[in-house]
Subunit: 341 residues, 2 copies
C-alpha cells in the first residue's frame, strides 16, 4: 500500500497541554510519526513523501479567517513578552453569547474564538506542520483517484477534532475532511468512518448539514470523556444532513467484540448509503496497550477491522488520527494495513 | 453608611489563574478585603459583619445544578490524585455544540460546562467564601429595605461575570443580581449600573429577557478586552427584556471626562426607567493607579461618580466588584462613599 508521510510534521512538537489544572507535555509527539513509519516500512509498504497540499484543498473545508489565524497566531502571541512559548486560550465564547458574531481583533480573544480547548497549543512551527500533515491526506486521496485500491496518510498533527473554524484536541486542520473533499471531485457520495477512541466531533460538524458525506464514529461514551459535549447517539445531522451522521458510542473498557459489532453496524450503514469511496479516520488509541487505556482492542482486532473494511469493496483512504506512544502503536497500524491487504 | 463584610471570604485564596499560556496567582486576593475595610473604617463608616445568605436568595438567581456544582466540585476534583489543587476547566461546549443540552457526569466535563474560563479556579473554600460574599450583598439590600438611603457590600469574590449557571472572571455567585432580587420583593423596578472596567456580562445575561431589571454597564471596549465576546453597544436584551440593557463601552485609556459623560447617559436612562432603587456594581479597577491600567479615573473622579449617583434620589446599594491591590484602592472606595454621602 502507498504510505504518505511528511518529515516537516516533526516540527510541531507541542509542549503545553492543559489537563487537570496543570500544563504538561502533550502525548501527540513527533516520535509518533517515526514509530508508525518504521512499522509501515518494516511491513514492506511503499513509503512516499507527500508534497504540500494545494491551498484550495484547505479552503474547501476551513474558513479563510481561521486559516489566517493559524498562520499568524504564534507571531502575534509572541509579540507580548509576557506570553508563554505556545498559544493557549484562556477564555471562550459561552452559551450565553450564542448570538455574538465575531472574534474581535486581539490575539487572546481570537485564540479563545478559534481554539476550543487547552489541548491544541500553537507553537512556532505548528502551521507548517499542520499543512504538511494535510498534504499527506491529499496525497492519499490523489493516489486513490489515480487508481489505488487503498492508501494510507501518516498524518500528524491529527485532524478529526478540528471544525471549519476551530482547533481542538491536538487537531488544527481536518485532514480526513480535506481528503474527502478531494474525493468528491470524482465521487458523488463519500463516507468517513472514524474509529479513533474519541468522537470525531470536528468531522461531524463540518458535514453536519450535508447529505453527500456520510459521517460515522465509533468511540468511547463522551458522557465522561473527550469531547464531552458531542458524540452522543442522538446527533444525526440537520437540514439536508439529517440522517447522514451516525454516532456509535461504546462503554469504556470495550474490546474487540463490542468494537467489531459497532463496526458491522457502521459498515451496513455505509453499504446502504452506497458510498463511492470510504475514508477511515484511523485512530489507534483504542488499542489495549495505548496509554489512554480506555478501550481494549487487540492487535488481532485491528487486523480484523482492516479485513472487514475490504468487504465494502470500495477504494479506501486511511487517515491517521490518534494513537499514542507504546510498544503496540506500530503493531496496531501494521495489523490494520495487513487486514486491508 | 453601613458597610457589610465577611471575614470568611478570606478563605477563598485563588492560586491558579490561566493567562497568556501560564498559570499564575490571581489578582483577586483576600488582602483586597483588608484594604477596603480599612479605608471604610478610617472614613468612619458603620462596619458590620454580614450573616450567611438565605438559600432562597441564591436560588432566585442561580440554577440548582450550578449551585450543586460549586458546592461539590472541589471534592470531586480532588478525588483524582493527578488533579491540581484547584479546579480549572480545560475544555468547554463550543459554538458547534449549541444544541447539546447537558454537562455529563464527570468533573472535567462539568467544570467546562459551569466554568467559563481559566480565571475562576475553585479551591477547597471557594464555596463557603462565595456564600459569605453573597451574604454581604443580601445584608446591604436588607439595610435599604429597612430604611437606609445607601449601603455598601464589601463582596469578594466578586460577582458580575457569573451567569445563572456559569462562573467566570474571578466570579462565582452574582452578588449584585442576588441583591437585586432581594430588592424586587419591595420594588417593581430596579436598575443595576456596573462601573467596573470590565463589562458586567453575567449580570446582563441573568436579566437579558426581563423588563423589571434595567442593566447598564460602563466598561472598556471588549474588542480586545475581557470578556471579549460580550459588552458591545448592540446588545440590548431580548424578548420582554429588549431595550432594558444598555452597554456603554469606552476606549481604553478613558479618564474622568469620558467615564463621567457615560455615567450621565446611564443616569438619564435610569431616571427614564424610573427605578425604585439602584444597585451599583462597584468595580474600582477603572482607577488610574489600578494595576490593570486600562482606564484612568482619578480619586476625585470616583468622588464625583458618588455625588452624581445621589442625584438619582433613590436608595443605593453599592456592591463591590473588581479593583486590585494598589495604594489607591482604599482611597477610591472612600471617595465613592464620600461622594454618596
Amino acid at each position: 500500500m502507498q504510505v504518505f508521510h511528511a518529515p516537516l510534521t516533526d516540527r510541531h512538537n507541542p509542549q503545553s497541554f492543559l489537563v487537570l489544572g496543570s500544563i504538561r507535555v502533550a502525548a501527540e509527539q513527533p516520535e509518533r510519526r517515526h514509530r508508525l513509519l518504521s512499522a509501515a516500512a518494516a511491513a514492506g509498504h511503499d513509503i512516499q513523501e507527500a508534497p504540500p497540499p494545494p491551498p484550495l484543498a484547505l479552503e474547501r473545508v476551513h474558513t479563510s479567517d481561521y486559516l489566517g489565524f493559524l498562520r499568524t497566531a504564534h507571531a502575534e502571541w509572541s509579540a507580548n513578552p509576557a506570553a508563554a512559548p505556545e498559544v493557549i486560550p484562556n477564555l471562550h465564547p459561552n452559551r450565553h453569547m450564542a448570538a455574538h458574531p465575531h472574534p474581535g481583533t486581539g490575539i487572546v480573544g481570537r485564540a479563545g474564538w478559534y481554539q476550543a480547548d487547552g489541548a491544541c497549543p500553537i507553537g512556532p512551527h505548528t502551521w507548517e506542520a499542520a499543512l504538511a500533515s494535510a498534504g499527506c491526506a491529499v496525497a492519499a486521496a490523489d493516489a486513490v483517484l489515480a487508481g489505488a485500491e487503498a492508501a494510507y496518510a501518516l498524518c500528524r498533527p491529527p485532524g478529526h477534532h478540528a471544525y471549519s473554524d476551530l482547533a481542538g484536541g491536538f487537531c488544527y486542520l481536518n485532514n480526513v475532511a480535506i481528503a474527502a473533499e478531494v474525493l468528491l471531485q470524482r465521487y458523488d457520495r463519500v463516507a468517513i468512518l472514524d474509529i479513533d477512541v474519541h468522537h470525531g466531533n470536528g468531522t461531524q460538524g463540518i458535514f453536519w448539514r450535508r447529505a453527500d458525506v456520510l459521517t460515522l464514529s465509533i468511540h468511547a461514551d463522551p458522557t465522561r470523556y473527550y469531547p464531552y459535549f458531542a458524540g452522543f447517539a442522538d446527533e444525526v445531522g440537520e437540514g439536508a444532513g439529517a440522517g447522514f451522521n451516525l454516532n456509535l458510542p461504546l462503554p469504556h473498557g470495550s474490546g474487540d467484540a463490542a468494537v467489531l459489532a459497532a463496526l458491522d453496524t457502521a459498515l451496513a450503514r455505509i453499504k446502504d448509503f452506497d458510498a463511492g469511496t470510504v475514508l477511515i479516520a484511523l485512530g489507534l488509541d483504542a488499542a489495549d496497550a495505548d496509554p489512554l487505556g480506555v478501550f481494549a482492542v487487540s492487535t488481532q482486532g485491528f487486523e480484523t477491522i482492516g479485513q472487514r473494511l475490504t468487504q465494502l469493496d470500495r477504494p479506501l483512504v486511511l487517515v491517521q488520527e490518534g494513537g499514542y506512544l507504546c510498544d503496540a502503536l506500530g503493531a496496531s497500524l501494521a495489523a490494520v494495513l495487513r487486514g486491508v491487504g
